[in-house]
């Protein structure tokens, strides 16, 4: 068990194994995303209330999922890096931040676009959108801290602490925003909590969500591999890898 753990911590091992997995994951991701998009946009039935505009849900919902999952991945990796001083974990945490921020931004933008036909305005202080906005702030804080600290190790540890503090705060923020929202907008119409979505609408959404997760995994692996090469510049294996290119 422990040898496995330490092997996982070795950047070289990860670099080798992820190089073999990456094409498969990327392949699965593109198939799922393609299927989900075509199904969702062209074949899923129209919504009886929102017409065709609801179809942006097929991007909005998965990116909102990913925005949150990515923060968890970042926090868990940061925590492992802090406690067990595992290099790879630091690297993964660092690679997560911009990806997560992008998904959050995507969720916000698609939410705004969806809001236009639904509420006839680009922005509503809806509980979900507001907590998504705060999540974006948290991501931006982590990224800003990472880029402000020159030393890589210090940057990784400092942003891990910040991410963990943020993680403790996320449920509190979510709760407070929801509570604040019901206080000020009791009759707010929520975008996706709707009675029993029909199966034909559900399936493409599910495929899109899984596709987004695979896409996330692929991008994360790619970023991590680049970061590994940068950090391990002085090791023999990176040098020989570069020479053999």
């Amino acid at each position: 068990m422990w040898t496995w753990f330490y092997r996982l911590g070795s950047p070289k091992w990860f670099y080798d194994i992820s190089g073999r997995w990456l094409p498969w994951i990327a392949c699965v991701a593109s198939i799922l995303l393609l299927t989900g998009t075509v199904w969702g946009l062209a074949f899923a039935p129209q919504d009886y209330q929102q017409g065709n505009s609801f179809r942006i849900m097929y991007i909005h919902v998965p990116s909102a999922f990913l925005a949150q999952s990515c923060y968890f991945v970042m926090a868990i990796c940061g925590g492992i890096g802090l406690v067990w001083k595992m290099k790879l974990s630091d690297i993964v945490a660092k690679s997560c931040a911009p990806i997560g921020a992008s998904f959050t931004l995507l969720a916000l933008v698609t939410g705004a676009i969806w809001g236009k036909p639904t509420w006839n305005t680009w922005w509503v202080w809806d509980a979900r959108l507001t907590s998504m906005l705060v999540l974006l702030f948290l991501y931006l804080g982590v990224i800003a801290l990472q880029s402000a600290i020159v030393d890589r190790n210090q940057a990784a540890k400092a942003s891990a602490v910040l991410t963990l503090v943020g993680l403790v705060n996320i449920p509190i923020i979510k709760y407070s925003v929801e509570w604040w929202n019901t206080l000020h907008q009791p009759a707010s119409f929520s975008l996706i909590s709707r009675p029993a979505m029909p199966m034909e609408m559900w399936m493409p959404l599910l495929i899109m969500v899984i596709g987004f997760y695979c896409f996330f995994a692929a991008v994360l692996i790619m970023r991590t591999r680049v970061e590994i090469l940068e950090r391990e510049w002085r090791t023999d294996w990176v040098r020989s890898l570069v020479k053999n290119r």
């Binding site: 030393d151 190790n153 510049w233 002085r234």
Partner: protein
Amino acid sequence: MTNFLLQGNNLYCERDRRILFENLDVSVSAGEVLQIEGPNGSGKTTLLRILTGLSDAYEGELLWRGKSVRKVREHYYQEMQYLGHAPGIKQALTAAENLRWYSVIHGSNSVAANDEKGNKRIADVLAKVGLQGYEDVPCHTLSAGQQRRVNLARLYLSSATIWLLDEPFTAIDKSGIRSIEKLINEHINEGGAVVIATHQDLESVPNLRRVTLSGVPGDR
């Protein structure tokens, strides 16, 4: 059987993609002084900060009495006194207040109390570093050298086994340097150990070992 107090094995440190040192072994045992030499920018301060356990930016093994410093940090700090690059003195406080605060955080209550005994002890110690009568003067009115001396006065109050001193002679005059050398000699005679980063030749100190950092920009 080695009985090193502090031991660093195979230390490696890189700063901004420049290798400061690698495969570096340093050790100091009781009754010994280890002098760290090297040109500016060769990593003397970095090495000392690593030896204090303050800096984590190294690879290799750092042992206090044979156990990893990362694991026995608290025991180590009970026996370690570090005088850093910074003055370590609060400008707004008086010399006596500064020394009192240090005695609290180092857990030696000898001068912590503001009573006659404590005051006398502080006055004695300040006299030893050439600052008699300066007990109640705010430190911002003192010169750089005098502030250094207030910081050095901590060594007279210290009951630590090992002292790590980063350029302690900066802004100190000749007579001051001699009295510190004398203090170091007394300390190692009592079984203490000293790691000191300085360019000064420590002529009067017996049991002196040197480690020299090359400062050559290292890229393999």
